[in-house]
Symmetry: C2
Subunit: 240 residues, 2 copies
């Protein structure tokens, strides 16, 4: 098998780069307008198709908006648009999925900083409602969507919209992973259960009520233990 020649840069690739460069060079900010298509055609000596391909990409990323007659306007890009589009777990390697899980653990632990800085009594009330609803369902019947409600609320309290979005976008990866690698996750969960090491949302909530940040971070670590195991040990099955 030949080594893949990956040097297939098209004109659209170059023009895309040039236009981004143009924005930076001229210190354009959201609200400013760009040259129109034909001007780019003349500037770079290429066909309108190519310009349109490049602009189409920037449009998708939310970097520009286009309107007839008005031309092209720069907008504040929605940072995670591209990310959202391509996160199809089926397309990700196990390595990448492990990295997503690592990201999840890091975010959950780190976000506790902001969680405990911001939380107030009414937040705790809402968390209690979520938890009691979930206890009614029963821990074993909890779907991953139910599971996520609690964590989404945590992120919301932490007050960082970007991180909330990020977590929401990664969510399908975890759903997929726990389904696709069920033969791994199931015995791990059972083992943890046997050892009495399952950490529930209620356990997390207890720490939150006590405003015990370190306790919470510890508990989160336990709560996400199956991911940790997966990252370090898959495909071997082993619990320390």
């Amino acid at each position: 098998m030949m080594i893949t020649k990956f040097s297939t840069t098209t004109l659209a690739d170059k023009v895309e780069e040039q236009i981004i460069e143009y924005i930076k060079k001229n210190s354009l900010v959201p609200g400013d307008s760009l040259p129109n298509e034909m001007q780019f055609v003349e500037m770079y000596g290429i066909s309108r198709n190519v310009v349109r391909e490049a602009l189409s990409r920037l449009r998708m990323l939310g970097l520009i908006q286009t309107r007839t007659k008005r031309g092209i306007i720069i907008t504040e890009p929605s940072l995670l648009n591209g990310f959202r589009k391509i996160i199809d777990p089926h397309l990700l390697s196990t390595k990448t999925i492990k990295e997503m899980m690592g990201m999840r653990i890091v975010l959950e632990i780190g976000v506790a900083e902001f969680l405990f800085a911001n939380i107030n009594d009414s937040d705790i009330l809402e968390l209690e409602q979520i938890v009691s609803r979930q206890q009614a369902i029963g821990i074993n019947n909890l779907s991953i969507e139910d599971e996520m409600v609690f964590h989404a609320k945590i992120y919301k309290i932490a007050g960082n919209n970007f991180i909330s979005q990020f977590n929401e976008i990664m969510h399908p990866v975890f759903v997929f992973a726990r389904h696709n690698y069920e033969s791994y996750f199931k015995p791990v969960s059972e083992e943890l259960n046997k050892l009495g090491e399952i950490v529930t949302h209620n356990n997390l909530l207890e720490k939150i009520k006590k405003r015990d940040k370190y306790g919470y971070q510890n508990a989160i670590r336990g709560h996400l233990k199956p991911y940790w195991e997966f990252i370090y040990n898959y495909p071997k099955i082993k619990i320390e």
Copy 2:
């Protein structure tokens, strides 16, 4: 001023969506090939230009590769390609920049989990070298690039490539912020200095050597205090 009608979905938008849908519906994975351009033209009853615009976007995201005669092949997308392209700090609102800073704090705190799980003696040796080189330069002469070398190494030890990349991509935002909001950061730093609360890389390294995770997380919090201040207090200047 009129309310912006944002419903300008073009055919390219729709076709892009359709093709992503096509991939999911048919459970295609990296290595599989897609219908060629003309087949999409017929499938959706549109012009080749539109198909090419849509494919051009997917190509940019790293979701597909195209080669003459061979057609279109699905590849594992590089998750952060789109993100990397649009992170131009000039285009970001202060709100978004604050969110990036929050992300930075969360990552640095959270990544300590993996840092302390993975670190070995040779890593510590390398960290010592980095720190002593930086001490030679002097803390006040440290450029933000120098500053970043230490943290990049931390992420590398933690062993999550995605997070490393993520941090690297966000880096210019911090460079920009500290430059653009210098009138805020400078007095904050001076105030911290007066209070003797500056946390250096050397301080961090001490905690690492003692394998003191909680101490490290605490120290990181201090190290990133200016960002924390910015998030909560900008444009007001205030240190608790």
